[in-house]
């Protein structure tokens, strides 16, 4: 490898930002020629170069966050320090929507114009922003779903040199930020409201939400926190895996894959280095359940990861959280620090467990929620999914056996360890065990994250969320998110279990239940879904990269002036995307669209 860099130099501030994540400079940026003491391949060989590649995204993020954009000088500095080819670093930087490689004002507002937000004022809000124009200090951009559908419309603000923040329940008639970038009063409510059921006695997974102080380890300990880890250590790793197996816990991220299969495979691997990943890149439009857990019960995420790491023999866990969740990020970081300080996390904890957690922030890419894309993203590569097999349990992060589970999935492990797997399995149905979170949004009175036992019906959940507002009739439900499908009210009696959904030919996905009433412009919703997948496909494989574009074009024709053959064309494209795409994004990209067309929602 013979790397060549341009002469561009970083500013002092850029250098400092990079140093804050990758340590002191190894290369004198004023000299392009390196000396033996700082040269890449001398001391430890290529491995020392490869070992630092994973710092690429954190370094880019640090510059973006401090300066507001990544200049050529900053990019070259990072490349010199990490020995990354500049073209590859450019490829990574331009993959993420939260990283700008063009000069940007210090304040950038990302306004959600996705399914829920656009129905409650996001479009009006954007019109206002458009009319006001961009100012020297501020810019606005449309954004895909920000995971705030219970408090729509929402916007995410990146601020150079300051903490980023989320604005929710924005009044669309107002300007959310002033010309100087400051938040205009009456907007900017940051604190997460407790889940609507907070405090109710029957709750399992949500029981600490709204009742235990999410900023305090003491509060968590007083509520019984870390007793599950103690029990796990008493039981030993193999017994923990056995309990997870007995619980029949299935993944809550969307694929419903049995957790124990992954755990057992990695626990039994002959490879000594293993990893655990908590997938907190919650980006499926309409999904915000993991955010609630991370914001309001962060210690349980940390404890559950520790137990999982202990059970599978991993000493290192990665928590990959989407960049648009700043509050959850702050709380998790604080929880990690407090746990470390208390000897509950780190190389040798007071429980004798050796496990630490590295928190990584995504930078605006839905595809990075796909497990292997997420791994590539951590490794400092573009967030492109890998072809499987090999599966992550064999060759995952850094090529090592890896368990990757969703936040909600992991949080269930606490009760499984504390109460036993069979007790957990007695809740719900034999094939869908335990409690389940659902994200209610759209045309319901009380949108929010709701916990039920598997077996509750679709109608029960709508009821739980207060039903539809006065004068509104249920027309359709989007079940499972943009990658899910539309269903009609005739499925209200359907139990929300993996098996019942499968029998009805639908999927629970990540637990999205988005209600639409008789006033819905489904054409607009479908166009947004088609645009979403086109924006968010990584672009790696042909069926998905071009198929999503052709679907969007066919839908535009159908909305404007339906021609014979356009419906069939969408079916044909869908079939090829399902069959020939590399990953789940392509497999599911046209499902919602096709279901809506088949149900006649566009008529």
């Amino acid at each position: 490898m013979d790397l060549r860099f341009t002469d561009a130099q970083p500013t002092a501030a850029e250098r400092e930002a990079v140093e804050s994540v990758i340590g002191p400079a190894r290369v004198d940026s004023h000299q392009r020629v390196r000396t033996a003491s700082n040269l890449r391949i001398f001391a430890k060989g290529m491995q020392s170069v490869a070992d630092r590649r994973h710092l690429l995204l954190p370094a880019l993020e640090a510059v973006q966050s401090e300066i507001g954009w990544v200049s050529e000088g900053a990019l070259m500095h990072i490349c010199r320090e990490l020995s990354v080819p500049p073209a590859e670093a450019w490829g990574v930087a331009t993959f993420y929507s939260l990283i700008s490689v063009d000069p940007s004002p210090p304040v950038v507002l990302h306004v959600c114009d996705d399914i829920v937000c656009r129905r409650v004022g996001a479009l009006e809000l954007m019109e206002g922003l458009e009319a006001n124009g961009q100012t020297p200090n501020t810019r606005w951009l449309p954004s895909p779903c920000l995971g705030q559908c219970d408090r729509a419309p929402a916007a995410y603000i990146q601020r150079a040199g300051e903490d980023d923040q989320v604005l929710v329940s924005i009044d669309p008639r107002t300007r959310p930020i002033g010309p100087d970038g400051s938040v205009v009063a009456a907007n900017g409510q940051q604190e997460s409201p407790a889940a609507p059921q907070a405090g109710q006695a029957h709750l399992r997974i949500l029981r600490r939400v709204g009742t235990v102080n999410p900023r305090s380890l003491d509060s968590y300990l007083a509520a019984g926190g870390y007793r599950a880890l103690e029990e796990a250590v008493e039981m030993g790793p193999a017994a923990v895996v056995a309990e997870v197996k007995a619980s029949n816990l299935r993944g809550r991220g969307g694929a419903a894959f049995p957790a124990w299969i992954k755990w057992e495979a990695v626990a039994n691997s002959p490879e000594p280095v293993r990893y655990l990943i908590c997938n907190a890149d919650e980006s499926e439009p309409g999904t915000f359940k993991d955010r609630v857990l991370m914001e309001d019960d962060p210690f349980s995420v940390i404890e559950a990861m520790t137990i999982s790491g202990y059970a599978i023999g991993a000493r290192k866990g990665y928590l990959y959280i989407r960049g648009e969740y700043p509050l959850a990020t702050r709380r998790l970081r604080s929880a990690i620090h407090q746990a470390r300080d208390a000897g509950l996390l780190g190389e040798s904890t007071r429980n004798g467990v050796s496990f630490d957690i590295d928190l990584r922030r995504g930078q605006g890419a839905y595809i990075c929620g796909e497990e292997t894309a997420l791994m590539n993203s951590i490794e400092g590569l573009r967030g492109e999914p890998r072809n499987k097999p090999p599966f992550p349990t064999v060759s995952g992060l850094f090529g090592k056996p890896t368990v990757i589970n969703n936040v909600e999935t992991l949080c269930n492990v606490l009760d499984i360890v504390a109460d036993g797997g069979s007790n957990f399995a007695s809740v719900g149905t034999p094939q869908s065990t335990g409690p389940k979170l659902f994200c209610l949004s759209g045309s319901v009175r009380r949108p929010g994250t709701y916990e039920v036992e598997f077996g509750a019906t679709l109608g029960d959940l709508i009821e739980l969320a207060g039903g539809l507002p006065e004068g509104r009739r249920l027309r359709a439900i989007l079940l499972g998110g943009a990658a899910g499908s539309f269903v009609l009210p005739d499925l209200l009696e359907m139990p929300l279990t993996f098996e019942a959904a499968s029998e009805a030919g639908v999927s629970l996905g990540s637990g999205v239940i988005m209600a639409f009433d008789q006033h819905t412009d489904f054409g607009d919703i479908l166009a947004r879904i088609a645009a979403f997948f086109r924006d968010e496909t990584c672009g790696q494989c042909v069926p998905c990269r071009v198929g999503t574009v052709r679907v969007e074009e066919a839908l535009a024709r159908i909305r404007r002036d339906p021609q014979p053959g356009d419906l069939e064309l969408i079916e044909e494209i869908d079939l090829a995307m399902r069959d020939a795409s590399i990953c789940g994004l392509g497999h599911t990209a046209a499902i919602a669209l096709r279901s809506a067309l088949e149900l006649g929602l566009l008529e």
Partner: protein, 331 residues
């Protein structure tokens, strides 16, 4: 300690392809298995000398008990697999992939097989509507991931754009790029180790790019031309070939290929000199050659001018065009 020798039979994998049994070595891919039994499987992003990236998906085949089709180029054959290479599903996906590429990319300079597959799979790229207007120079290189402009469905969006001509050796016509990643691999990990280009951007706006979209000479490119050697669609082309095509003087039927050994150093790289009118118009190396695997350095690839500077050779009708190829920018 010596390892006991394993028997030949224990060292093979048996599977069924299109109803016929076949035995392959344990780490063989399905593509290798198909080729071993003479079954044709189309490929675009696959090359024997590069790591399979399985992104074009045209090699997909149906494997029993697999929910989706699988890429033959990278899927390892397993004992007892039942594979279909020409099922209805396989044919449909291949047809759609060809249509997706044909409706978004200029395939007119692609390898001949592409046209044959278009007919074989009855692909009809025109049914997606007329091509969208080409974008202005550099426009696609500046696109930010996340949102895109309005879509009306009247045209089929493509990647058409002006050719990048920023040096005298080769051009990059990304209107012809199917994003097969071959050039990236040949430039980087699989051959040259230079890493001058990578995939940038996301989704339909993903593109092959240098850092900051710099002209080739300002980046890390060492002009080995190995990217040209692996490009299946003519997106990367000798400047000489590009100028001759522009002048409508490019004539493959009038060309001959002479195999020789590069005279610059002692490695022994074999060269294939493509000549037209007794002038060298491009240089390749045989992919199956032990020394090169098809790859060369700048001298072997482009350093042939001295051969033609011998003075008294008769002027040829293509000389003027070839001279134009040596000027920094096209007229």
């Amino acid at each position: 300690m010596t390892q006991p020798e394993t028997t030949e039979t224990a060292n093979t994998v048996s599977l069924t392809i299109d109803g016929s049994p076949v035995e392959v070595r344990p780490d063989a891919t399905l593509l290798e298995a198909c080729r071993q039994m003479g079954t044709e499987v189309p490929t675009l992003c696959y090359l024997e000398t590069l790591t399979p990236v399985n992104v074009c998906r045209i090699c997909v085949v149906e494997v029993e008990r697999n929910r989706t089709l699988v890429p033959a180029c990278s899927r390892i054959a397993e004992e007892g697999m039942v594979v279909k290479t020409d099922s209805e599903r396989v044919r449909h996906s291949r047809k759609m992939i060809l249509e997706f590429l044909g409706s978004s990319v200029d395939l007119s300079a692609a390898e001949d097989e592409v046209g044959e597959w278009m007919e074989q799979y009855q692909a009809d790229p025109a049914r997606y509507g007329p091509q969208s207007e080409p974008t202005a120079a550099g426009e696609r290189g500046r696109r930010h991931p996340g949102h895109h402009g309005e879509v009306n469905g009247r045209t089929a969006e493509g990647v058409h754009q002006p050719t990048k001509v920023d040096n005298t050796l080769y051009v990059r016509d990304y209107s012809r790029c199917i994003l097969c990643y071959k050039c990236v691999e040949a430039c980087g990990i699989d051959a040259q180790g230079t890493y001058a280009i990578a995939v940038a951007g996301r989704g339909f706006d993903a593109r092959i790019s240098t850092e900051m979209d710099l002209p080739l000479g300002d980046g890390a490119c060492v002009f080995c031309g190995n990217c040209i050697g692996v490009c299946p669609t003519g997106a990367l082309m000798f400047r000489s070939e590009w100028e001759l095509r522009r002048a409508e003087l490019w004539d493959p039927d009038a060309q001959s290929v002479t195999r020789t050994v590069c005279s610059y150093c002692g490695v022994g790289c074999n060269l294939e000199l493509h000549t037209q009118d007794n002038r060298i118009v491009k240089v390749t190396s045989p992919q199956d050659h032990d020394v090169t695997s098809g790859h060369l350095c700048i001298k072997g690839r482009f350093g042939y001018d001295y051969v033609q500077n011998l003075g008294d050779v008769d002027r040829s009708s293509i000389d003027e065009v070839l001279a134009a190829a040596r000027r920094p920018a096209p007229e």
